[in-house]
């Protein structure tokens, strides 16, 4: 195969970096997003083809690389086709673990063939700078890998979501962290002569990844996933420096920022500090403070018929979906209900809280899957003033995002988090299975208000009976 000049290759890598920027840029609106995704595909194709040409890949190499691409490609395509939309959180976690592992493997490969990677210095040992980049890439990659595996297991239910709190865990983590620093120093000093140091580094960081994530509750996993996404970006950037590769450096920075910003947005919308999420222990099975002296307060319960009657006579209904919608897979049912109501002349729109569900944009994807047009779906800031004009707020599987204590009770753990003002609507209908708490483990006064009617049932079943009655 023909070989490319270093300059041409660098330019092509830059082109693919620009295409990646355009891919993310496309996501600023649904209309441009599809084209953006194609840019991303073209970008990665250019990077791959360029590398084949640069490396003068042929013979065995071509076979191995081709086999890897084919096997991985088929597996990836099948997963992408089969995965239900409700499983997106765990899918993203699983994919992150793969990037992390790949980063480790690339670092190891570079370590064993330093000559081909062009990272030898004049004395024939590996450059200290390259060893630093390699070990950072490997360490961050390993943490990303094992952390994402735990995140996947917790999200997918293969493992209890409860935080697992080892004794002295902070001490252990600090000790391991110091160990990592020492090993990186030793590696740089050795000039890459001793693979044992690299293996130890990888092993320790694998363990560190596990230990960092197990104390974090299942419900905090979205923040963790996003944070690991960010890490995988920085790992890619570190290896990008080793390889002098523009596409990797730029992409690493893009992905690194993206993950960091999403974590920030989630923490902000939950009104929690990033540190408190990372330190863990939140969102387990234990009920929180409010749980202790909970008296049995009276509330109004209704049936599907009641709900159907109220909504049929309303002129404006705002649907507020939450995590329960995903659990019950009720997105198609709710769309059907909305359609039926619209035929009756009712104005129906959707209100989405930034952290409704279990990952950013979770509800939007589910509603989109159910063919709800995105111009009927509004963000919190755009719709919150509308509740006072609505006759009915139909809360389905949402809880914390409607909890008025976030506004009224300074002692509430979610105090300060912006909420959807459903209590401004004429009537509030709430679909959930019981009076139990949501993710934050706190009682919701909304359920006990006069204007609230509880529809206690699985979301999908309830909506289906409402449709029948309508």
């Amino acid at each position: 195969m023909p070989e490319l000049s270093a300059n041409l290759a660098a330019i092509l890598y830059t082109v693919s970096a620009v295409l990646f920027i355009l891919a993310l840029r496309g996501l600023s609106s649904p209309e441009t997003s599809r084209r953006g995704n194609y840019y991303g595909m073209v970008g990665i194709a250019i990077a791959i083809v360029t590398t084949f040409l640069v490396a003068g890949m042929g013979g065995t190499g071509f076979l191995f690389a081709g086999a890897g691409l084919a096997v991985g490609g088929v597996v990836g395509a099948v997963i992408a086709k089969k995965i239900p939309m409700t499983d997106m959180p765990q899918l993203v976690a699983a994919f992150h673990s793969l990037v992390g592992l790949a980063a480790v493997l690339v670092a190891v490969a570079a370590f064993f063939s330093p000559d081909s990677f062009g990272i030898l210095n004049d004395e024939g040992t590996i450059k200290a700078g390259s060893l630093l980049e390699l070990s950072l890439g490997a360490a961050i990659g390993a943490i990303t890998f094992s952390g994402s595996v735990i995140a996947f297991a917790k999200l997918n239910g293969n493992m209890s979501g409860a935080p697992i709190m080892l004794p002295f865990r902070h001490l252990i983590n600090i000790a391991l962290g110091l160990g990592v620093a020492v090993l990186i120093g030793m590696l740089m000093k050795s000039g890459g002569s001793d693979p044992t140091i690299l293996w130890s580094l990888v092993a320790i960081t694998f363990i560190l990844g596990f230990l960092l994530i197990i104390p974090i509750g299942g419900a905090d996993m979205p923040v963790v996933v996003s944070m690991l996404n960010s890490y995988s970006g920085w790992a890619a950037a570190a290896l990008g420096f080793t390889l002098g590769n523009m596409a990797l450096i730029v992409t690493g920075a893009l992905v690194g920022s993206s993950g960091a910003i999403l974590s920030y947005i989630m923490c902000k919308a939950m009104n929690r500090s990033f540190i408190s999420v990372i330190l863990g222990g939140f969102g387990g099975d234990t009920s929180s403070a409010a749980g202790g002296d909970k008296e049995q307060r009276p509330f109004k319960q209704g049936s599907a018929e009641d709900a159907a009657f109220i909504m049929k006579n309303a002129s404006k209904v705002i649907i507020v979906p939450g995590y329960g919608l995903a659990v019950a897979q009720a997105q198609h049912a709710i769309r059907e209900m909305a359609d039926t109501l619209k035929e009756e002349g009712v104005d129906v729109v959707y209100a989405i809280h930034p952290v409704a569900g279990r990952m950013p944009g979770h509800m939007n994807v589910l509603l989109a899957e159910a063919n709800v047009p995105y111009d009927e779906v509004f963000e919190l800031e755009d719709i919150n003033s509308e509740f006072s004009n609505a006759d009915v707020a139909f809360v389905i599987g949402a809880n914390d995002v409607t909890n008025p204590s976030a506004k009224t009770d300074p002692s509430s753990p979610i105090f300060g988090m912006p909420i959807l003002d459903v209590d401004k609507a004429g009537t509030v209908l709430v679909v959930k299975r019981s009076m139990s708490t949501g993710y934050a483990g706190i009682d919701n006064d909304l359920f006990y208000e006069d204007k609230t009617m509880m529809l206690l049932s699985d979301a999908k079943k309830m909506v289906e009976s409402i449709i029948k009655t309508l």
């Binding site: 890949m57 190499g61 064993f112 996933v225 080793t242 920075a253 993206s258 989109a368």
Partner: protein
């Protein structure tokens, strides 16, 4: 060294310095580009950043080539596995994103 050499259209500057500049600018770009993503598309954003971070496949392919062209066979194998892992991510990530994005529709007028 005369300053002519220092100038020299940047010839005396080590690539790593250029790369650092590129990295810093890319962080700025990342910051702005991600903040401009609409919240409704945050899930596809997570999926697609996943896919593009697999551009690390570049390193994996070099590892394979390195092993095949006289490098350590460790490189061939780790490289090939890394290529496969990245490929899962690339195909999986872009296709699942495409599947999601295809679902976002405007109201039929």
């Amino acid at each position: 060294m005369t300053f002519a050499l220092i100038m020299a259209g940047g010839a005396a500057v080590s690539p790593i310095v250029f790369q650092l500049t590129i990295f810093v600018l890319a962080i700025f770009v990342g910051y702005y580009v991600v903040w401009s993503v609409t919240p409704a598309l945050h899930t596809p954003l997570m999926a697609v950043t996943n896919a593009i971070s697999s551009v690390i496949i570049v390193g994996a392919l070099i590892a394979v080539a390195a092993g095949a062209q006289g490098g350590s066979s460790v490189s061939t194998w780790t490289g090939a596995i890394a290529v496969a892992l990245c490929a899962v991510n690339i195909f999986g990530g872009f296709l699942v994103t495409q599947r999601m994005l295809a679902m976002y529709k405007k109201k039929a007028k």
